[in-house]
């Protein structure tokens, strides 16, 4: 899931300063799970903005604002309210915001900061798990990603900054992911793969930025 956090209200108000009439778009997928852009948060945001003297022309929670088809479908019934607004406040991740920009041709203000692709343990406990590096090596690392979870992206084991199974980054409070990988692969009887020399990563696999997947 894409993990998001709501920006501070002052920052949102600063961006919305030139606009009086606002339409709010929420996200029915990731931002709903994160409780940063679901039905409830959209309602709360509308109230906050009204208190700040804004006029809310309407709101909608799009099933997935990052999906152009769903965005078009879910905004069809609020076309007038959107047209009536000077700006859209988008409570979705960066991909959602940009899909809105591309398809609704309206000044769009991001309400959230996009943090990472991660695991939700519960609300308020989100952990980064994938960097979308374009070349998944999880099989070689016991299903634990060092590209994402090692601050140095080590590929061949822990660095000298590992102490007592903890990582030097963050003051030895967090697990060294290479120790986790080692333990896991030992359990799985996969140490032969662990021991193999991993060559430097091939960054051409990342693709040319911005990345595209286009079936031909």
């Amino acid at each position: 899931m894409i993990i998001t956090e709501q920006k501070p209200l002052e920052e949102i108000l600063e961006m919305l300063k030139p606009f009086k009439r606002i339409f709010i778009i929420g996200c029915g997928t990731c931002a709903t799970t994160c409780q940063t852009g679901g039905e409830e948060q959209v309602k709360e945001m509308a109230e906050k903005l009204k208190r700040e003297g804004k006029v809310i022309t309407g709101t909608v929670v799009v099933e997935s604002p990052c999906d152009a088809r769903l965005l078009r479908r879910d905004t069809r019934k609020v076309k007038v309210e959107i047209r009536d607004a000077e700006a859209i406040l988008c409570m979705a991740c960066g991909a959602g915001v940009q899909t809105v920009v591309e398809h609704l041709e309206k000044i769009t203000v991001p309400c959230l900061d996009t943090k990472f692709i991660g695991e939700t343990e519960r609300i308020g406990r989100f952990y980064e798990r994938c960097r979308a590096c374009g070349e998944c090596i999880l099989f070689e690392t016991g299903g634990i990603c060092p590209v994402t979870r090692c601050p140095k992206g080590m590929m061949n084991g822990p660095c000298g900054g590992m102490y007592n199974g903890k990582c030097e980054v963050g003051g030895y409070t967090r697990d060294c992911v290479w120790v986790l990988i080692y333990k896991r692969m030992k359990e799985l009887g996969m140490l032969d793969i662990y021991k193999s020399l991993k060559p430097p990563r091939d960054y051409t696999k990342l693709g040319i930025q911005p990345r595209e997947v286009v079936w031909v």
Binding site: K152, K195, L197, K198
Partner: protein, 307 residues
């Protein structure tokens, strides 16, 4: 299989001598007077001197520039330290070629402390390679005359490539596996993290006995109680032994500066002469790496005592 010898360090290791290396840490300056002075004090007592590459991620003068100047001005052979933190493989290739051209004969390839620990924590951490990959890349350059992508190097550099190791690592197994990877990648020598007790050294050699590669054990003489305390508190996983700490604490209370200094030196000499002798006598260590930045005065008597 006998590889060519490029450096005095490797020549002495091959000859079976118990070698000493020292450490120089040039800082945020273009004036290398202090570094050169330190190098001169070590000259004759150590075979080669490491020159650190932005240690603890503090942005200092280039270790390549400093390595070159030290060799040129003092004649002390250097071990040029290079880390993966600040350069991608293009920049590292370029620096290694530069090192070759500048007459650097030994390279110590390290991952590097993370940027967030340093004095420019806002910097982008690079880590395009890790230490194992860096060792392999450097060896490919020297041995096969190709860069990491297989492109031919017209005139390849000639230096020895070493790696780091940590006998104190906890858990130790992943560190040992990585040690093995570094050997496979082509590490020709190792210099270890600081060790204070002979048991840790012995245990480490026990674990790596399958590998036939020279290892220099890291030694850190403690100039004062303050240094010892700082070390104890900031270098995780390495504890200054209690009795040594106690002796230094007692010395600290000596009011007369000269006598205090003398006592500090005595304590260090006693403790580390014993440790070095033990290492030399009872382990297969190829030598010791003396990290005595700011405390070079102890080295001559220490080395003499072990001879």
């Amino acid at each position: 299989m006998s590889r060519p010898v490029f450096s005095e360090l490797m020549a002495q290791i091959r000859a079976g001598k118990f070698v000493f290396t020292g450490e120089l840490e040039p800082e945020k300056t273009i004036d290398l007077t202090e570094t050169l002075e330190a190098a001169r004090r070590l000259k004759g007592y150590v075979t080669a001197c490491n020159v650190t590459d932005n240690p603890q991620a503090f942005a200092y003068i280039s270790s390549l520039a400093a390595s070159y100047i030290v060799q040129k001005e003092t004649g002390v052979e250097t071990i040029y330290q290079i880390t993966c933190r600040d350069r991608n493989r293009i920049a590292i290739t370029s620096d290694l070629l530069g090192a070759g051209a500048l007459g650097i004969k030994n390279v110590l390839a390290l991952t590097g402390d993370h940027t967030t620990l340093g004095d420019m924590p806002q910097a982008k951490p690079v880590f395009d390679l890790d230490s194992v990959q860096l060792i392999h890349m450097a060896r490919m350059m020297v041995d096969e005359g190709v860069d990491v992508s297989g492109n031919e190097i017209k005139d390849p550099p000639k230096f020895h490539v070493g790696g780091g190791a940590n006998p104190n690592a906890d858990p130790l197994e992943p560190e040992l596996i990585k040690f093995g990877k570094k050997v496979s990648a082509g590490a020709e020598f190792f210099q270890t993290q600081v060790v204070f007790d002979i048991e840790t050294v012995k245990r480490f050699f026990d674990e790596i006995k399958g590998y036939n590669v020279p290892v220099l054990i890291g030694i850190f003489p403690l100039r004062s109680y303050g240094v010892a305390k700082y070390f104890d508190e900031t270098v995780p996983g390495v504890k200054v032994p209690e009795e040594l700490m106690k002796a230094l604490a007692e010395a600290k209370r000596i009011p007369d500066k000269k006598r205090r200094r003398q006592r500090y030196n005595e304590i260090n000499l006693e403790y580390f002469t014993n440790l070095l002798k033990e290492i030399k006598k009872t382990t297969p260590a190829a030598g010791c790496h003396l990290m005595s930045v700011g405390y070079e005065e102890i080295i001559p008597s220490l080395v003499e005592a072990v001879k």
